[in-house]
């Protein structure tokens, strides 16, 4: 099903956005306001990787390509990687370590407050992404990692709140996220109310869920 070199290939592909940014930076291709371009690009790719991470479960179940689960952690960690770059751009290139101004930003600017919260909520997920953590934490692991839903919602709100008037792009992310979350709600509702035996439905992890 899965070619041997797929994983390293996907890993490298996830680095393409960073490579592209670096190439542009070295070739004066970032335009009049390079710091803003870097901020926007790393922020956008964080959102993309969050959405891709959240798509793994629906896609693997709907298409029965269960092996896709191997990529979920990688995509999640790339979301964290890009948000780290995004946050570093903010504190270093944008604010240049003006802690006072950043504290004020985080406290006073709603879009920065939610963006910062979304970032902080991803930290425990990245820290507990190892195989050992999954084993050690058991059922609590899943509870902790459900924080990604909150991070994704806050991330999209962060985007919507920062644009001046044209909300087309953030709305696209909001729609994709709504779809991904709606899938979870349907699955949950199905297991809870419609399935012949709730206990059975809950226990069969790889049970395929009707698409409607």
């Amino acid at each position: 099903m899965k070619p041997k070199y797929l994983k390293p290939f996907v890993f490298l592909a996830c680095l393409v956005p960073l490579g592209r940014l670096g190439w542009k930076a070295l070739n004066a291709g970032l335009g009049a306001n390079p710091i803003q371009v870097i901020t926007w690009s790393t922020g956008t790719w964080t959102l993309v990787f969050l959405m891709v991470t959240l798509s793994i479960t629906p896609v693997r179940k709907l298409t029965r390509q269960y092996w896709l689960i191997q990529f979920r952690r990688m995509f999640g960690l790339f979301a964290f990687f890009y948000v780290c770059l995004h946050f570093t751009t903010y504190i270093w290139l944008d604010q240049f370590f003006d802690w006072h101004s950043m504290m004020k930003d985080i406290a006073k600017r709603p879009f920065i407050t939610v963006g910062f919260t979304a970032f902080v909520l991803l930290i425990p997920l990245a820290l507990t992404s190892t195989q050992a953590s999954i084993r050690r934490l058991g059922k609590r692991w899943q509870m902790i990692h459900r924080l990604i839903y909150l991070t994704a919602v806050l991330g999209v709100i962060h985007y919507i709140w920062l644009v001046k008037a044209d909300i087309r792009k953030p709305v696209i992310y909001a729609m994709i996220l709504s779809l991904l979350l709606a899938y979870r709600i349907v699955v949950w509702a199905w297991a809870r109310f419609a399935a012949p035996s709730t206990a059975q439905a809950a226990s069969i992890g790889r049970r395929s869920i009707p698409a409607d």
Binding site: N27, A28, G31, A32, N33, I35, Q36, L93, D94, Q95, F96, S101, K104, D105, K108, R109, P110, F111, W161, L162, K164, A165, D166
Partner: protein, 318 residues
Amino acid sequence: MLIKKPADIPAAEITPKHLYLNRRNFLLGAGAIAGAALAGSKIGQIVAPSSTVLAGTKLEASPSSFSTTEKQTPFNDITHYNNYYEFSTDKYEPADLAKNFNTRPWTIKVEGLVNKPKTFDIDTLLKMHLEDRIYRMRCVEGWSMVIPWVGFPLSSLLSQVEPNSKAKFVEFTTLYDPKRYPGQQRNVLEWPYVEGLRMDEAMHPLTILAVGLYGETLPNQDGAPIRLVVPWKYGFKGIKAIVKIKLVEHQPTSTWTKAAPNEYGFYSNVNPNVDHPRWSQAKERRIGEFLKRPTLMFNGYGDQVASLYAGMDLKKNF
């Protein structure tokens, strides 16, 4: 003893303009050729930017004591980083989208509470006494430039139509033509774009109608053929491609005020102490500089304009 330092020689006087404006294209072109040779492909077409059409006509202008001596923002940045929502909400797009925007014929109707309403042809206005005005421009988004405009005081146009005593405000309107303005096909703002000034602001000698940039006629993406420049206010007050100027009794509602009344006020004077509700206005990034610099009250034009707002609460009248 006074040793007088000679004025810095502007780059424009050393290198012919068409060469220094195209230096990036030259480098990119050289790189593209090398790249294409290496890859044997059409890389050149992918990496080389669309060539800038410089339809600029040289303008005769005299210097002005209102000009700043600060380092001017490169022509390429002023023409490739534009908030011009009639073309696109993406600042990098108007340069390309405005390429074929036709600014002839073009007239500006000046009407309302005036004794002599008149319609001016743009080519008549280009023959007015023009001045170089090198101004700071502070965008409400937190970045700034130093722009060498060419233009004339708005007051010299208004005096020709003789505003009457009832006229308290001036209302400006941009062209409305969704066929030529792709951005006007969507209601991201209420079209056409409208801006306003109080009469004393409009008559202030710093307030100009700009018809040129870097000594030539305005590039389309910067508001050709004629735009407003009010250097102590946020950039969006500088309405572009003006077709109508109306003298009115009541305060006009600006387009951005309509879009978000709590974020963009009528005055919109540059003020580091009054933050935008969503971001700080204390600092700005001058395009081309790495570190942010503090934003100055009235964008550094306080000596000339602070008296216009004496006794006003600028937190309320933002």
